[in-house]
């Protein structure tokens, strides 16, 4: 699976979970860039991502992410 494909799926998940009209994630996007993305919706996003990609993140992995790019790296490392 390529980065581009992962980003495309992540955009769909973000739109669905955060109830956004549109979403254009980049490697640098973080919680400060999307108002609806807070500590609680973060967990909902993780659950949705794990379900969609059929993977499981560790707690430390989740806590380390500083932006979407690092989240994508984690997904790629599990595929």
């Amino acid at each position: 699976m390529e980065r581009k494909e992962i980003f495309s799926k992540l955009n769909e998940i973000f739109i669905d979970v955060l109830d956004l009209d549109e979403c254009n994630l980049t490697d640098e996007t973080n919680a400060n860039d999307i108002e609806e993305w807070d500590s609680l919706s973060h967990i909902q996003l993780i659950v949705a991502i794990e379900k969609r990609f059929g993977i499981k993140f560790t707690s430390l992995e989740i806590m380390k992410w500083r932006n979407v790019g690092e989240l994508v790296d984690s997904i790629l490392s599990k595929k």
């Binding site: 108002e35 609806e36 807070d38 500590s39 609680l40 919706s41 973060h42 967990i43 993780i46 659950v47 707690s59 430390l60 989740i62 806590m63 380390k64 500083r66």
Partner: protein, 487 residues
Amino acid sequence: MNPQSIGFLSFCVVVLTANGLLQRFSVRWQNGLLLLASCVFYAMADWVMLFLMMGMSVVYWWLGGLLKRLMNKGRTADASRLTTFSVCIAICLLCYFKYLGFFVEQVGCLLQMFGIHSSLSLSILLPLGLSFYTFKLISYIIEIHREHIEPCDNLMTFSLYISFFPTVMAGPIDRSGTFLPQLKKTRRVDADALIQGAKTMLWGYFLKICIADPLSLATDETWNTFDSLPASTVLAAALIYPIQMYADFCGYSCIAIGLGRMLGLVVTENFNRPFLARNVAEYWRRWHMSLTNWLTDYVFMPLNITWREYGNRGIMLAIIVNMIVVGIWHGANWTYLLFGLYHGLLFLPLIYSGTFTRKKKLKPGKWGLPTLHDGMYMVGTYLLVTIGFVAFRAPDVGSIFGFLGAIFDSSIMEIPHIPQFRLLYLAFIAILLVNDWIYRDSPSPLHFNGTGLFRYRLVRWFIYYLLLFAIYIYSDAESQQFIYVQF
């Protein structure tokens, strides 16, 4: 050294002058000066415990470096164990000084319930600022483990971060990721920083001396005699207590933030107009933010991630645990536990209804006031918070129910008469709340945006002098210690 004492102000003048003179020298000199000032400040309050704080700084600085070396070698399991060990040391230290005496006392009570005579008691004095600096130490180690920061390479810089005198007594709890980088570069303090810092300090002193101290005399008197007072008076005292707490703690935070600014450092914000909150979740995003953000990152989030499979039930449990930690962080007493549990329970309807995360920006309605809808929710939130503060203020669990019970009496219709309360205080409270509303988006207090009458320098200076005059008049009154210093 009490921050509203002449001694403290003189100390600040000496440090600010020396800091200004050292601007042309390297950052090492600037940090050396601030570390020396921080040690002197702490030693004047508790010189024995200065060794504990400095000793802990050395140990955690070394642990941070060791942790990074383990991570670089790819020994991730050892790194995780060392992180857990480091966090446990800090928690054990906190438990020993803060909770052991209470625990021993409770064991004694339990034994007596079973008819076993016990005179168990343990008196341990809480070192100044321990609750605040242990949280900094814990956060430093976890942030290295999460690869968010690099360990600090200079022991003097790290010790200054832990002991920085404006915040060491009662916060705000600065995070290593934002504060340490500031200590690594030479700081230039310009006129704008000095003016903004001084204005923030002025506002802090106004809150403490003209609002918090006079109100504390009134609420203390009511709490001491609530059994014999009309219900309306007890209710009025309960309603003004959250304002007193806000003025007291926000006042302290403003003094710390303002002083930091004058020294060329940005200290994290602690309050963002909490009484404009329209629900309890929003209230906690605006009240004691440095503590709630810390707990969100290191208690709520790890629990929530671990229990993510359980959906709303997992979130609720994580919030209740988190809020109980908020409560007992304030001290070893069942009242604080109840205070935390009460707030945790207040979150539950918000999670069920989905309003927990909804963040609607405050927009003014007619005549620039809050809309009727927002206003009603603000008042409702204030009333809920007031009940929580009764638990917070009560000396024991029995008094919580005694105080609340005293409100439900036929004398509720009488005109309240709070001993030592003056009508002028209402004007001061109004200034505080109106200022919060008008400048709800302003970065700092008294940061007038140059519109309306405030575009005239004469008007602005008139306000500054008026505040100074009020502080001068009220500084004669009995000076109270800042409430959060005891935590």
